[in-house]
């Protein structure tokens, strides 16, 4: 098949490369080294500063295909898929990895169909099968009850999306060198059917729960909407974002973008604090792979305690005010 190279798809927003692009390079570097091939970062965007682009090389890329044009300022799947398809046909990579973000999870399936490639969503682990050079892609399914390993023996490229925050960016190494290849945008690749006519930015308090190190989540145990202020206060003390169970969202205590679980978001923070959440299987599916889980619940039998590293069985209305009070007196280290 004569395909060569591992590609990662960088993402940019408002003229700046998103962190997830560097995380992808960490994944890609490991695979490229095992395959003894080059690691490429593909950046489709507009007006990114050159030292920001250089950072892709400092963090692991050997080569960058840069397609910079005002028509690529915003993610429009049809345009991005056309540009990427054109690059793939020219340079024939063996592996393409994108982030499992709203754009990555739109671009990759749209593109995989056009080039008949195998695509595996939301991988948590990627490795190489040495003898065959096949990519081994591991992902959770059935609400996290199974981990399936998937490969694509006969088709190239092999494509994956991986969850943001599931790896760390490599440290900057200013001695690393690489090549930046400017690829002019061919006008015929712009589809033109879909127009982005506006954008409504989240309020500060609606911080994206998938992009933070700490999530403080509340559930039915809070009893009413007003009590969510206890969760918000704790999230401010700990410097985290507010999450919620489906019950809390269905009762309109908090909006849907905060929902964690099977019908909401999957989060992998360093610390997940579940308060008044019993831990139904659908909720666990969205948070059980967090690095650390703290649970506060009045039911000692609640399933959430089975996945917790630390738990308190008690009345959250007695515990939270005291906890908030103590944290306001700076009892935790390294708070900024």
């Amino acid at each position: 098949m004569n395909c060569q190279g591992v590609w990662t798809i960088a993402e940019a927003d408002q003229g700046k490369i998103r962190d997830v692009s560097f995380e992808l390079l960490t994944r890609g570097r490991k695979l490229a080294d095992k395959l003894r091939t080059e690691l490429v970062s593909v950046l489709m965007s507009n007006h990114i500063e050159s030292n920001n682009i250089q950072e892709l090389i400092f963090r692991g890329a050997d080569k960058i295909y840069l397609v910079s044009d005002s028509k690529l300022k915003h993610f429009i799947v049809e345009n991005y898929a056309n540009v990427l398809e054109d690059l793939i046909k020219k340079y024939r990579p063996e592996i393409i990895i994108a982030a499992a973000t709203t754009s990555g999870r739109t671009l990759m399936p749209y593109l995989a169909i056009k080039i008949k490639a195998g695509l595996t969503a939301d991988c948590t682990d990627l490795d190489i099968e040495k003898e065959t050079r096949n990519l081994l892609q591991t992902r959770p399914a059935i609400g996290g009850n199974i981990l399936a390993t998937i490969k694509t023996p006969k088709y190239r490229p092999q494509m994956s999306t991986v969850r943001p925050k599931s790896t760390k960016p490599a440290p900057i190494d200013r001695n690393r060198t690489g090549e930046i290849i400017n690829v002019p945008l061919k006008p015929e690749l712009i589809d033109g059917r879909v127009k982005r006519i506006g954008f409504r930015k989240n309020k500060q308090e609606d911080a994206n729960i998938q992009n933070v190190n700490i999530v403080i989540a509340g559930g039915r145990g809070l009893k009413k909407k007003d009590n969510f202020s206890l969760i918000k206060e704790l999230s401010q003390h700990l410097g985290g974002a507010v999450g919620a169970s489906r019950d809390a969202v269905d009762r309109s205590w908090i909006s849907y973008p905060h929902q964690v679980g099977l019908s909401g978001k999957t989060v992998i923070p360093k610390l997940y604090v579940a308060i008044g959440i019993s831990g139904a299987i659908q909720h666990l599916a969205g948070m059980k792979t967090a690095d650390n889980i703290i649970a506060i619940n009045n039911d000692p039998e609640a399933p959430i305690f089975k996945v917790a590293n630390f738990g308190i069985v008690g009345d959250l209305f007695e515990i939270l005010p005291k906890l908030n009070e103590r944290l306001s007196k700076e009892e935790c280290n390294d708070r900024k």
Partner: protein, 265 residues
């Protein structure tokens, strides 16, 4: 406004129990339901029909028993359904599934809008909706959270992304995958259930679709599942009882110590 909604039948996962000896899911006695995230697409489809007229058709690829999911959708208010069924479709990955559903839609013809759920709760890939759009070369919006405006030529929608909502204008026909925020699914009515019972669901096999065998089922699927593991996420965490002033203070102190020792902030 003619709308087609591809749906999926999935196991009712809230009752999933794992076999402790084999580590596999106990399927026996597990009820099958419409993928919960497809209900939002069905609801939006019915609302758009109520407002703009036209038809709402549901389709699914699955075993004969998946007819039940189509009938449930009809009971909610969809007009009719098609079941794509046959052993040649077994083992399809998202590429092959998208191919068959897109081919079905092409053969049905006469549509303005395709609506799907964001993903299915069992496979959890979210790839089939965009895949169908790609096969049919339709303009696509994923994570649609609101329909702002619809006329005979265009649709304006909001799309839920990481840091806010994008507003997109798409020409019809187009495909939208929708998130929960877009609607509140209605329950089937008694009259709807009666109508669903009487509705005959046509079964489309490959004799009808005439697709190349090499693109179907396992043959047509680029990916292969090579291993299944059953992760054990049970952690042996320390659990503190907090039932009086002293034990509450003690457990809070322990929690702060836990956070500090692990350097979590």
């Amino acid at each position: 406004m003619n709308i087609i909604i591809p749906i999926k039948q999935v196991p009712e996962t809230s009752n999933v129990k794992m076999d402790k000896k084999t580590g596999t899911i106990i399927r026996k006695g597990i009820e099958s339901i419409i993928n919960p995230l497809d209900l939002y697409a069905i609801e939006v489809g019915i609302q758009l029909k109520e407002e703009h007229g036209g038809t709402v058709k549901v389709i699914t690829m699955g075993p004969p028993s998946a007819e039940k999911a189509l009938k449930e959708a009809i009971a909610m208010g969809c007009d009719d359904g098609i079941l794509v069924c046959g052993k040649e479709f077994a083992g399809s990955d998202t590429w092959a599934t998208s191919y068959v559903l897109a081919s079905t839609i092409k053969k049905m013809g006469n549509y303005d809008l395709i609506l799907t759920g964001e993903r299915a709760t069992d496979g959890d890939t979210g790839q089939v909706g965009p895949g169908i759009a790609s096969f049919l070369n339709l303009s696509l919006a994923t994570y649609t959270s609101k329909i702002v405006n619809l006329n005979s030529e265009n649709i304006i929608i909001e799309r839920l992304v990481e840091d806010g909502y994008e507003i997109l204008k798409l020409p019809l026909p187009s495909l939208l995958t929708v998130v929960k925020e877009i609607s509140y699914p209605r329950l089937p009515t008694l009259r709807g259930k009666q109508r669903a019972r009487k509705t005959i669901i046509p079964k489309w096999t490959n004799e009808k679709l005439q697709l190349k065998q090499e693109n179907l089922g396992l043959n047509g699927s680029p990916t292969r599942v090579v291993k299944i593991n059953h992760p054990k996420v049970f952690r042996k965490g320390k659990i503190f009882q907090a039932n009086d002033e002293d034990s509450i203070n003690e457990s809070i102190g322990q929690m702060i110590k836990f956070i500090n020792e692990k350097n979590l902030l």
